[in-house]
Amino acid sequence: MSEEKYESHINAVLSECPDADREEVREAFAKYESEFYIPPQDALRSIIRRFKGDMAPSSTGNNSQPQKSSVSKKVASLTELSATDRDVEIEVEIISHNLREQTIRGEQKQIAFGLLEDNPWDEGGQRTRWEYKDWGPNSNISPGTVVRIEGASVNEYQGRMSLNINQSTRIAVLREGTRPVVAPGEPIEINNIPSDGYVCVVGRILSSRPDQIHRKDGSGSIDVVRGRMADESGTIGFLSWEPFEHEVGALVKIDGAQVRTFRDTPELNFGRTTKVELYHDSNFADAESLMEQNIVTISQLRDGSRDVEAIVQITEWSKRSFVRDGQEKFLWSGQIADPSGKCRMSAWEELPISESDLPVTIKVKGVRVRSWQGIPDITVDKSTQVEILESTPWDDSIDLSNHIVEVPLTELVNGSSRVGISTQGIVASVREDCGIIMRCTQCRRVLRDGNCSQHGDDVGTQDVRLRLVIDDGTSTSSLLINKEATLNLLNMTEDEIKAEIDSNGQMEFVQRLRGKLLGQLVTASGRTIVDDQGAMLLADKTELVEQDPGLISTEIRAQWGVQ
């Protein structure tokens, strides 16, 4: 059939390149199709080019835009402003926005106040936060929006600077809010509480106990109430600076609570302006079922959490001693696991657990969580916080000591740090420092030009690692692959890698890695560290996922009904 197959395409080439040989052109089309999966109409231009020579490149233009001048005082950061500035123009992100009724000169008037931050476009950069008052109030200000404020004035009161937004001030929304918009008095689910700002919630009190906060300067202490409350979406701790007399089990509506985040854990603060009232809803979940969901899994543990309740299995447990203030003290610690993952646990009192009993399933209650290098560590302060269970609530045939949980990349990136997980992603970057590295002999930091950032010059120990970025189309994570996993993935020995880099150079080596890995789907397992810098997966095993495009294509046709 191939006699006529490319006829029209060949003719098209020949009409452009009359001197070309018909048979050579045919062979070119055949090669593009069989070796490169390029149909003739797509190969046409390349083939014309090959037989004809060059074509003029298309022209592109670069245009620079003239800078606009402005009459008002236009600043990039709040720190450039002084207390006397009027008619200020600045771009800010609105952090919180609260409406309030106020009586001004005998007239009821609605005004808005809240927090804003400058430098709104620089994610993670240095930002200054000020309070603002909006006398408009402007309807297009909402939390999370980035706006340009034109014509605001600066206000200074007892050394605190704030911004006054007047009725004549123009507000241009530059980016719509990405945070949940919270109307005052409109309750939000506990699970959706932002990491700062003012919120209104409806929930049931799960625990409540008086506590004292001692002033650091020794000038006395403040009586507070600490506790937890819950709705069907989740639970949250609270701290009330005012007397709080609602009993455990009471359903309350709390308006104007301030969210503060300690480490990774948000907490509600009730102050003078917070309104707490009993709420009536006979359909609201009862305390017992809310208590049930107060039990968290290891994957849900967050640094800084208190009053945590969980069921876990201890897989390793040991006692160690240390000396503090001349006294020998003991600390018990080990590995724990549940079907969602693994982490560590420490106890300051002896638990009735011996190594020969392991694994032991326990329920912990009222414990707190600290994280070390991203790995959560449940801290048990009193042995009464631990209850030993006869059986596990999950299928006890799972061997948790070697258990690896598969977690979608986006879930890992948006969650807390985890141990014993595996995930998949497309390799979106192969960093140029892949391959052989030297580590500090004291702290294992990577040396730069034989120099450790902490310990100075060092001879170093040779190590092998890959540094990639994996991506699932919505989230990305760094992927660091250790020596053993790298050697397995590349099917090379350390000496072979060293020899290749020595003879071809680092750049060629990395380019060859890209040839092998870029755009490929990989499975990686190990542990993650998630912090402000994003997510990092430290992998002790990584594999390319074998894919059959023909099969996938058939599945796609079936799934989407495209024939």
């Binding site: 999966y37 298309s58 245009n63 950069g125 699970n191 699932d472 750049m507 870029l518 294509s553 796609i556």
Partner: protein, 307 residues
Amino acid sequence: MQPSRSIKRQPAWHMLASEFGESTLNEKGSGEFDPSFVITKLGSKVNRVIVAGLLERLEPRDTANGSVLYQGQIRDPSGVHYFSVGDYASDSMRELTLQLSPKVESGEPILMLMVAKTRLFQTEEGAIYTSLRPEEACEIDSNRYATWLTKTCQDTLERMKIFTDSLDFEPTIEALTKQDIASHMVEGLVASRNHYGDIDLEHYNLNILQALDIAEGKIDAASKPPQQQIISVQEGDEASSNSDELGDILLDIIKKLDQGEGVDFETLITNASARGFSRSVAEEKIESLSDEGSIHEPAFGWFRIVS
């Protein structure tokens, strides 16, 4: 809980040339290091893409400031991506470009996959172009190309579904968030629907069908007669830069080749260049014919004579 603010790497979207190339909207923060985005008709808000195809061209071009800019294009079943590699690119990307350029020049077929930053720019006349700045790239074999095609089809189909679902609701952040539209698409969808208005998805379906045929190795099914018919140049036709003459020629080409759906942009350019008119002159003329109302564009990149 909302994650705290941080410098997040932008994800890479698998995208066909047709979806990216039809974009005319971008979004950029005012700060120096803010990510910029191109917003496609399907509502993808992309800063980074992962694309693949036949490396069709890769040639050096001197720029005004004396440095050399490499311009190239890679073709997938739906169309062409234009890209450039300049001084700003990493050493390894420039090195790869230097290695590949002569290979392309000598007519060696190369399948390439690249992770690239998206860019959209406007000429002084107002024409809007998309282009890519590759960060990392490599040569791939047909099996990896096929795998990329399947992943890209899957992702594109998902975006088309989300786009279609979103049409039932007001194009605002609030409305779409409330309707559980995938959160990574919400901002792009709102911007896209307010900018592009009603769009036609049919040609994306055709692109996908063709890409799937190729991924299954059924190149025959994906083969089409050459779109780019070239009307042979008459003996004695003098190359001329006379603009009126070019206009007549373009109109003539459209008249001869139009079979009901118009004549595509590339065909016009190729035909004009066969008659000695450079690409840029022809592009400009097509634009001005369009402006003066002699021709119209019933579908993106397809031209018909106004009757």
